[in-house]
């Protein structure tokens, strides 16, 4: 009897509440989602005249039909040297008069052979003691500003675009510029350390002696060859490269952080040819508006594609303090590279969708284009081209024999590796599958995200001219791309398929806070429910009474 009473009490306790709640609970409604401020595909501040084919200082500058082309006056100056152009041209750039000195045609073949290059070290998205936001800003994607260091051609005037803006001027960006020289040139590269940390330059794969003629180190390695070039100091490296190819230059001081912070770029040695005025700098890498004589003989166009990956924990260090001692401690002793996880992936300094403004490969049928692909990051890069199977002609700057050339659709490059690829727009189903907008992207899937949000990172496109719209916008026919041009998208605030999803199958669920749930329940409670509730309470009391009684009995 006692047992029966007890079990009755428990059954009542367990089942009664569920009986009272048996009504079908409606799922919360779908909320209207606010698509944040959509940035234009192509900002109006970009001068459309920069895209045109033009002649400046007798330099013929190829058209660059993308949204955001390089400044043609910069190109002319990089071809001729700051010493061989008029002051009026220099004034259309932000270059210093001694950024690039080209002189002495030593071999008498119609181009200068003594080249003096000056590089500064700049910081982007750094700390400001005066404002919350970073200063000398550079966005890799909407609203994303990791801190960076980069080499930049020596400039003059303000680092910021103007006094009213904290945006970096166009020479200051990622990646560190590609540098082109001619085989056999006598080259001096002067590092002007305008940054607050010590730095150096190592010429990776570029033919250079370990020591300069005066016995000073020339390899840029603090442990073996060179003293640190401290802030405010300059150091000159000397080289006369005998071999051609796509090589690298990078800082070798605390290389595990300095390279990844952005102090790395391509150093390309072009074949020695008559009248070969090479474009010494390629700002932000990308399309080469004035290719070397040898490249022009084989290809109609040439692009530098530099891939990098960014661990936010490292890059944000410069935004967390101003004191040089704190910064040195956080970089050299606190940051732990064994815990490195990349968050952002950039091609020529930008993540998708910004890559579409600058790093499109624009092509015509039958064209042969040279791509110099460089993995400057710390992750493997598996570059896949839709619509094409390119052919590797050089690896790490060394030419492959015709039999060793590889044609495939995924090229995997480890850190610091380079591949020169031939992209051939012959519609034969192998080299090319016809005209279109053919995306090319990292097939390491992490690499096509931005802070884990897809699509981002290492994505760009080969666009046939027939598919290129005004202002360099590809005539895309897929989904509306506007959400990718908002900060909110990469902050994970916007439901990904929202603009294609009329029935809001995948919309945002309306928020219901806890307090409001209780309120609505109370409001909707009718008399039946109240009676049930009272009944339940009564039952509960009876049960408790019974239990007590039972326990008392058993105790007795």
């Amino acid at each position: 009897m006692r047992l029966y009473r007890l079990s009755f009490a428990f059954v009542t306790l367990i089942f009664l509440p569920s009986i009272s709640m048996a009504e079908f609970p409606a799922a919360p409604a779908t909320e209207d989602t606010f698509l944040g401020l959509v940035e234009p595909f192509c900002p109006e501040s970009i001068d459309p005249n920069w895209r045109k084919q033009q002649q400046i200082e007798n330099v013929s500058i190829a058209p660059s039909p993308v949204c955001d082309p390089d400044n043609p006056y910069d190109i002319a100056t990089f071809v001729k040297g700051t010493n061989n152009v008029s002051m009026a041209t220099i004034m259309q750039t932000q270059l210093s008069p001694d950024t690039l000195i080209k002189k002495n045609d030593i071999d008498g073949d119609g181009d200068p052979d003594e080249i003096h290059i000056r590089l500064e070290v700049i910081e982007l998205n750094g700390f400001s003691p005066d404002q919350q936001d970073p200063i000398t800003t550079y966005n890799i994607a909407p609203g994303i500003q990791p801190g960076f260091w980069a080499f930049a051609p020596k400039s003059r005037g303000m680092s910021n675009e103007s006094f009213a803006s904290t945006k970096a001027n166009t020479l200051l960006r990622l990646p560190s510029p590609s540098i082109r020289v001619e085989q056999g040139d006598k080259i001096i590269v002067t590092l002007e350390n305008s940054h607050y940390f010590p730095h150096s330059i190592h010429f990776h794969g570029v033919d250079h002696p370990f020591q300069k003629a005066n016995g000073e180190g020339n390899d840029g390695v603090p442990q073996t060859s060179n003293k640190l070039t401290m802030p405010g100091k300059v150091f000159s490296y000397e080289l006369t490269p005998r071999q051609t190819g796509t090589m690298v230059y990078h800082c070798h001081v605390q290389a595990h952080t300095h390279i990844l912070m952005g102090l790395i770029g391509m150093f390309i040695v072009e074949e020695n040819k008559p009248n070969n005025w090479v474009q010494t700098f390629n700002i932000g890498a990308g399309f080469v508006r004035q290719s070397s004589v040898a490249v022009k003989e084989e290809y109609s166009q040439e692009y530098d594609l530099q891939y990098q990956d960014i661990d936010r924990e490292l890059h944000n260090l410069i935004q967390q303090g101003n004191d040089s001692r704190l910064l040195a401690k956080s970089f050299n002793r606190e940051y732990n590279i064994t815990e490195r996880t990349p968050d952002y992936f950039i091609l020529n300094g930008r993540s998708f969708p910004y890559t579409l403004r600058e790093s499109l490969v624009v092509i015509k049928p039958e064209e042969k284009v040279k791509l110099r692909v460089f993995n400057a990051g710390d992750q493997m890069l598996s570059l896949h081209t839709h619509g094409f199977k390119p052919t590797a002609t050089h690896l790490d700057g060394v030419k492959l024999s015709p039999e060793a050339r590889i044609q495939r659709d995924v090229f995997t490059l480890g850190p610091a590796q380079r591949a020169d690829l031939e992209l051939y727009a012959r519609n034969d189903g192998l080299n090319n599958m016809g005209e279109g907008i053919w995306t090319f992207h990292d097939h390491n899937e992490l690499g096509v995200t931005t802070d884990g949000v897809y699509p981002g990172g290492h994505i760009s496109s080969v666009v046939f001219e027939s598919f290129l719209g005004p202002n360099g916008m590809p005539k895309v026919q897929g989904v509306d791309v506007s959400p990718f041009f908002t900060k909110e998208f990469y902050q994970r605030k916007y439901p990904i398929w929202n603009l294609s999803d009329e029935n809001k199958l995948y919309g945002e669920i309306a928020k219901t806070t806890k307090s409001s749930t209780t309120e609505s329940n109370e409001e909707s409670m009718d008399s039946t429910q109240i009676i049930i509730l009272v009944f339940q309470i009564l039952l509960l009391l009876i049960t408790l009474f019974l239990i007590r009684k039972t326990t008392q009995k058993s105790n007795a």
Partner: protein
């Protein structure tokens, strides 16, 4: 985790003196521009200087002969002076009140008195009378570029509201400008990325000035300071 915390206490009386304009470095200077000019401020893009002078079309000299480009720009390989003004009086000045010469040195050695800074100036504050004509003798002791750049001057005399000396490595350049009559505190800095943040920030007070700008070594606290 970002550790940017605004410092709420601002140095003595400056809050009152600066009023709302202290709220940000930039808004402060825009306020100054409105004081000088009645027309609306437009956030103009950086435009290269107009080229009127004959020398502008010629190739850059690699010797140290300055080339003149336009009426207010001279440049050579050792540096440049932009928007110099030796004669034109600001609208609110009847005459030049005094001629002042400021000798300023720049370089890493001048950062030593301020631990945690890297780039330094020999002085971080100057006081002049309203309507002074100021000649800056700017000496760079480093091997890289440095600048002495002042902002917030009237735009009808100084394009972009600035006067600028840049010295390219070790050396000296001199330039002159005239300040208006209003009491005001002008920002002086080196605008190479991170040079101002790492020590090269100073102020020029005209008349009684208008309080102190933030984060000037030896003078004022940072708005966003380090936590040690």
């Amino acid at each position: 985790m970002p550790n940017k915390k605004p410092i709420k206490s601002i140095s003595t009386g400056s809050l009152v003196a600066l009023g709302l304009s202290v709220s940000s470095l930039y808004s402060g200077l825009e306020a100054a521009e409105t004081a000088f000019e009645t027309k609306e401020i437009t956030k103009e893009k950086h435009q290269p200087a107009k080229m009127e002078g004959m020398a502008c079309g010629a190739n850059m000299n690699m010797d140290k002969t300055e080339m003149v480009c336009g009426s207010n720009m001279r440049m050579d390989v050792t540096g440049m002076v932009m928007y110099e003004n030796k004669e034109k009086l600001p609208k609110d000045c009847k005459a030049i009140s005094e001629d002042v010469t400021l000798e300023v040195k720049a370089g890493i050695d001048h950062a030593k008195p301020y631990p945690g800074t890297v780039f330094g100036l020999s002085d971080h504050e100057w006081e002049v009378k309203p309507c002074s004509r100021i000649t800056v003798e700017f000496t760079n002791e480093d091997e890289i570029r440095h600048q002495w750049m002042i902002h917030g001057l009237p735009k009808y005399l100084y394009p972009e509201g600035m006067f600028h000396i840049e010295v390219n490595g070790k050396g000296k350049k001199t330039g002159t400008f005239i300040v208006p009559s209003s009491n005001y505190t002008y920002l002086v800095h080196c605008d190479i990325a991170q040079h101002m943040e790492k020590g090269m920030k100073a102020q020029l007070k005209v008349g009684t000035g208008r309080g102190d700008l933030p984060s000037i070594p030896g003078i004022s606290a940072a708005k966003f300071s380090d936590s040690f």
